[in-house]
């Protein structure tokens, strides 16, 4: 039995027998609160977006028609900036470390400073084996290629990208001040089935933080305040980054539906559950709170269906049916803003 399943077994036993003493951060079902914070339409993008990101100054989005854009949050209407407008549309995008990154249909990664491109976007690299998702941190863009996790500076790759980790596919990749963590798998070469449920948060340098076979694949990953958080199935877990191997992970939340897109700020965690964004304190999570109606889009970039800054939650609302206009080639939703 794996470490995690032992932990889950212990939790189940304690629930049945009433021994709740050790479960300081134990899960509780997460009914939505009845009073939702008010949401307002965000003024800048008027068409559908397939992803949204935010930093201290700016809001960024990937238009359903292939535009990578941003604006100043304080005056979005008059400060819109376009980084790329591609005929066939970017495949994906991300924002981090002062740069915007996106990929073209030619599987080329481009970058621009968030303040705006110089004459042309920087061509970071063309990788025909690029696998779907970009990650960004401190001036570097990261991605999974055929076999390995690569990174390059925003200013462009050398002849070869830097290999961050070999022989692993990263579905999720997150960063704290000193390390990167990912979950993924390495398919065996002997032809046996890949272990679909295997999750392996691993630091950039060093041994795996832990391997576990939870009842469902890992669906999101986040790091903050010295802890690594992840979701599988309806549940949120965490472990200390400094000693994740030392003890079974702690179960924090059990929702009523699969939990995805986990994000953190200094005091709370946020996730998607039944098309609604929920939150709960990082410590002492007794009952989660629904922040949005159950209208968050299913479409677009999974990790970018919402974004958080110090005060607000920006999320993509699924368009109402029936549609009155032709949907864009990269559908998503209309950006809404809700106070946290």
């Amino acid at each position: 039995m794996t470490r995690l399943s032992l932990s889950l077994g212990s939790l189940g036993f304690c629930w049945l027998t009433g021994c709740a003493g050790r479960a300081v951060d134990l899960d509780h079902a997460a009914p939505a609160s009845s009073a939702l914070p008010s949401s307002d339409p965000f003024v800048a993008p008027t068409d559908e977006s397939s992803g949204v990101w935010v930093d201290d100054q700016r809001l960024y989005w990937l238009s359903g028609f292939g535009r990578v854009q941003s604006c100043l949050k304080l005056d979005c209407e008059h400060t819109r900036r376009t980084y790329a407008q591609l005929n066939q549309g970017p495949i994906t995008a991300t924002v981090g470390g002062g740069h915007v990154y996106w990929t073209s249909s030619q599987l080329t990664i481009f970058s621009c400073p968030v303040e705006g491109c110089a004459a042309e976007p920087v061509t970071v690299v063309r990788d025909p084996a690029f696998r779907n998702t970009l990650f960004a941190d401190r001036g570097y863009v990261y991605w999974s290629s055929d076999f390995d996790i690569y990174r390059c500076p925003a200013s462009g790759c050398a002849t070869t990208p830097e290999v961050v980790a070999q022989s692993v596919h990263a579905d999720y990749l997150v960063f704290d001040d000193t390390r990167a963590y990912w979950s993924g798998f390495s398919a065996p070469s002997d032809g046996s089935e890949p272990p679909q449920n295997l999750t392996a948060p691993v630091p950039v340098e060093g041994a795996p933080l832990g391997k576990a076979a939870p009842p469902a694949p890992m669906q999101s990953l986040a790091v903050g305040a010295g802890y690594l958080y992840w979701t599988t199935g309806n549940q949120v877990f965490r472990c200390p980054t400094a000693s994740c191997n030392a003890a079974p992970p702690t179960l924090l939340v059990t929702g009523e539906a699969p939990i995805t897109s986990l994000k953190l700020d200094d005091s709370a965690m946020y996730w998607l559950e039944t098309d609604s964004i929920h939150s709960c304190p990082l410590f002492g999570c007794e009952q989660s709170r629904a922040l949005t109606p159950a209208k968050v889009t299913h479409e677009g970039i999974e990790s970018a269906r919402y974004a958080i800054d110090a005060s607000y939650l920006y999320w993509l609302e699924a368009p109402d049916e029936p549609r009155t206009t032709t949907r864009p080639p990269m559908p998503g939703g209309i950006i809404r803003r809700t106070a946290k």
Partner: protein, 367 residues
């Protein structure tokens, strides 16, 4: 097929072949007049009005296959030629001309040139001096995902067989195919060394591949695993080669590498010969020297070399290769085809003009 992925060409205008030449059918060989021009440039054997896809040399001759962008009028776009190394432009021989040739490749041994013609799914041969009529047909109605010649046989992974098998066909006279081995997974490269056939076998898409071997005469059903950490990407060409002691391969991803194992197999992880290397795609071992082709930028290929005893990256011997596989060696020289044109799949418009170079091998004894 690996090593031939660059053959896919698109509609455009054939620049130089004469109308008479274009009218020629599959067995016609009179295409020589405008294919090759001599050059006064030092080290250049000639200028070829084709995109050179593969080259080979023997003591006397240089052989190559070349292609043009596909045409709407059905004109031939794939050609197989040779010429004397000493006077190439005036000694041109054309063995075959076809409307397409994406999976064609050839080998030379025993005074004959052998090639697979994908259009007719046939293995053909001619004397190296010229076909003097219709090429000989050694086998028909078969296809493969990877193939290799030795002096006596052609070994191939049957692309139609599920699971895949490796069979052989005799070269010296027509004969039935002989089973060599069952080959689990997808086979992208086969090489022959002494009594063994070696191949790369990908059992899970996106996972590391196996390198396997068995006796090439089919006398053993045992498959030996030589390595289990081969990183084969479908996005670039892939190569295997051998010397007397080792088998080498290209981990052909963007941050790629060259690895090796003893011919009898690695007991653990394979040995890294050179890394990082951008998309290595072609390998030749010549004594103690390893020649390898690799990308320098997207769709720009170069030839470099190193001493196997201390392999390290150095400046390329030659850049702007016409294709990843266009390198050959004889006792004294390295032969390679180059072009300054766009050889990416995005080039739908312009046919290629290539130079075939002959340059001295690197002198490792020089100060």
């Amino acid at each position: 097929m690996d090593g031939a992925q660059v053959n896919i060409r698109r509609l455009s205008i054939l620049l130089t072949l004469s109308p008479l030449a274009l009218a020629c059918g599959a067995s016609t060989v009179d295409l020589d007049a405008t294919v090759m021009q001599s050059s006064n440039e030092p080290g250049v054997l000639g200028i070829v009005h084709e995109r050179v896809e593969q080259i080979a040399v023997d003591d006397e001759r240089l052989y190559w296959s070349g292609s043009h962008l596909l045409r709407t009028d059905g004109a031939n776009t794939w050609f197989l030629h040779s010429c004397q190394k000493s006077n190439c432009a005036s000694t041109l021989v054309t063995y075959d001309a076809q409307g397409s040739g994406a999976d064609n490749f050839f080998s030379v041994s025993g005074g004959e040139i052998y090639w697979y013609r994908s259009y007719s799914r046939a293995l053909l041969s001619c004397p190296i001096a010229g076909c003097n009529g219709t090429p000989g047909t050694l086998a028909t109605d078969f296809g493969f995902s990877a193939g290799a010649f030795d002096g006596d046989s052609f070994y191939f992974s049957d692309a139609q067989s599920i699971p895949q098998v490796i069979d052989s066909l005799p070269l010296l006279e027509p004969g039935p195919r002989q089973p060599v081995a069952a080959a689990p997974g997808s086979v992208h490269k086969v090489v022959i060394r002494d009594a063994y056939a070696y191949w790369q076998s990908e059992l899970n898409t996106g996972s590391e591949s196996l390198l396997m071997r068995t006796r090439k005469d089919g006398s053993s059903s045992a498959l030996e695993i030589i390595a289990n950490d081969v990183k084969h990407s479908n996005d670039h060409g892939f190569d295997l080669t051998t010397d007397a002691n080792s088998i080498y391969w290209t981990n052909n991803q963007l941050a790629g590498s060259i690895h090796r194992c003893p011919l009898t197999g690695c007991s653990g992880a394979s040995e890294q010969v050179l890394a990082p290397l951008r998309a290595p795609q072609g390998l030749l071992v010549d004594g103690s020297e390893l020649y390898y082709t690799h990308e320098t930028k997207p769709y720009e290929y170069a030839l470099s070399s190193c001493s196997l005893s201390a392999c390290a990256q150095s400046l390329p011997l030659i850049e702007h290769l016409d294709a990843p596989d266009v390198v050959a060696l004889d006792d004294q020289y390295v032969y390679a085809a180059t072009t300054e044109q766009d050889v990416s799949p995005n080039n739908f418009e312009t046919d290629t003009i290539a130079k075939i170079h002959r340059l001295p091998k690197p002198d490792r004894g020089a100060p």
